[in-house]
Amino acid sequence: MEGHLPDVLVRARGLTKRFGSFEAVRGIDLDVHRAEFFGFLGPNGAGKSSTMRMVGCVSPPTDGELSILGMDPRRNGPEIRARLGVVPQDDTLDVELTCRENLVLYARYFGIPRRVARSRADELLEFVQLAERAGDKVEPLSGGMKRRLTIARSLVNEPELLLLDEPTTGLDPQARHLVWDKLFRLKTQGVTLVLTTHYMDEAEQLCDRLVVMDKGLIAAEGSPRDLIGRYSTREVVELRFDTPDHGDVAPKLDGVVERMEVLPDRILLYADHGEAALAQVHERGLNPLSALVRRSTLEDVFLRLTGRTLVD
């Protein structure tokens, strides 16, 4: 088993996690392949983090099969964790130590010799663009810097599988793009990445393949493009009317497209040709306050699958 890396790094069948009577993960199947960027997309409480903790071998499954790197987490937890990198949802850095100290100490937990740990720490700080902060305490760093430091820390053991639990939650747009850039570079280096997110654009930008999770179950699975093709149309027209209730306008749009979604503040028309659909709206004498034709996103897929927008 050692040395030989199977093609499926994470394999779950009927994977279940219960906390008392609450079923957080309700029997899911999944396979994560080598060198893949795999995502769990879903709102808070969907079971993403519970699944990640089981994959990270810090939470024993209640039921079902789980194999990580070809091993059983129930028996080989430490051996598996030795080859995983973990970026937890909350920062678990020691803010009173310096950036470099955080990496070196963490490397020691893996039994990496101190000298190797120090040189690796410097390389990784370079990689996440924190080299000039190496000797500074973590405390005053921005949220984005702390996240990058956590990513650097997760790489000290040169993991074969990197688990990222909501790596960009709470970051500003620039900080997010910087994190995405680093994750993308890891992927090009052949690292297998598993990420949870509740950001559609993040999943769309990064993931080769993803599952949409809702209420502990997998609602759909595929590449972002697959999912959009399967569950949405090529384009979406977003209409806003001068009305307190968009439900009143909806009947007047009957038949323009096969499917539309009425939200409190806007109406979405699913169309392969957005402009043509919009022209029909105007032909009916309707004058929306604003009309936007855009490409379908995973948000639309999510709306289709769960009937609600992805807000927490």
């Binding site: 810090v58 939470s59 430490p78 964790r81 030795a82 020691d94 803010v95 937990y109």
Partner: protein, 259 residues
């Protein structure tokens, strides 16, 4: 179970101590001087009577008090180390969360943490011992054994308190631990006066307390006439508390961190 992973986790505690060691070492070594000076000389001068000498087994009050202080202050420091810092590692700094994501197991982490707590107990015991030497209370090489006994006493109380702390959601119950645990133990376990002075009904409580066993053993060692059977009994009793506390600590840790 190999000890290597726990030894690596232990490094983290040593490392963490580097940032506070100056203040900590200073207070560790100054406190026993202050305590022994004030209590030993101050109160000692007041209890210099014939009946006091009889109750104290012919010792001066300072000779009576100092070994007790060694055990009691080790215990006190340990309780401080296994209450707030434990919640900090669970919830505030989340050190434990970071540790369990690595190859470290729950028992490695708990062992490393409690070993560090033992080191802190040892530092305190050593500091008290140095103060005792400065006050001229140390007469026999046996007395140096009071330092490991201080560590054992610390762990006998510290491991059950750790097992309790790891189950807590917040720090609010720790002030109760101090008020109804540390302080009564500190006052009524024979540190400041012989347990024989207590009313008969509460004496069994004092004899059951691990601190009394630590205090009594330290006192016998410093006085230079430890009775072998009684000493072994003390060590076994303290060891049993520490061992049961350790098992409960590991169990509590797993229940908290590996869910």
């Amino acid at each position: 179970m190999t000890l290597a992973p726990a030894a690596r986790a232990f490094e983290a505690y040593v490392y963490g101590y580097r940032r506070t060691w100056r203040g900590s070492v200073l207070s560790t070594f100054v406190m026993p001087l202050v305590y022994l000076g004030a209590m030993g000389f101050g109160i000692g001068a007041l209890v210099h009577t014939q009946s006091a000498a009889r109750s104290l087994g012919g010792m001066t009050y300072l000779e009576f008090l100092a070994p007790g202080m060694l055990a009691a202050s080790a215990m006190q420091v340990v309780i401080g180390e296994v209450t707030w810092p434990v919640i900090a590692q669970v919830k505030w700094v989340k050190t434990y969360q970071a540790m369990v994501a690595t190859p470290l197991r729950g028992d490695d982490v708990v062992l490393a943490n409690l070993a560090w707590v033992g080191v802190r107990a040892g530092m305190t015991a050593l500091a008290t011992y140095v103060a005792m030497a400065a006050f001229g209370v140390v007469h026999t090489p046996w007395s140096a054994l009071s330092i490991p006994v201080g560590i054992l006493t610390g762990l006998a109380v510290g491991t059950p308190v750790y097992a309790f702390a790891i189950t807590r959601q917040n720090e609010s119950s720790f002030s109760l631990v101090f008020r109804f645990g540390t302080v009564p133990l500190f006052l009524f376990s024979g540190t400041f006066f012989p347990v024989s002075q207590l009313p008969g009904v509460v004496r069994p409580l004092a004899y059951a307390s691990p601190l009394w066993h630590g205090v009594d053993l330290c006192r016998a060692l410093v006085a230079g006439h430890p009775a072998l059977r009684m000493s072994l009994l003390h060590v076994a009793y303290l060891g049993a508390w520490a061992a049961v506390g350790f098992v409960l600590s590991v169990r509590g840790f797993r229940k908290r961190m590996v869910v």
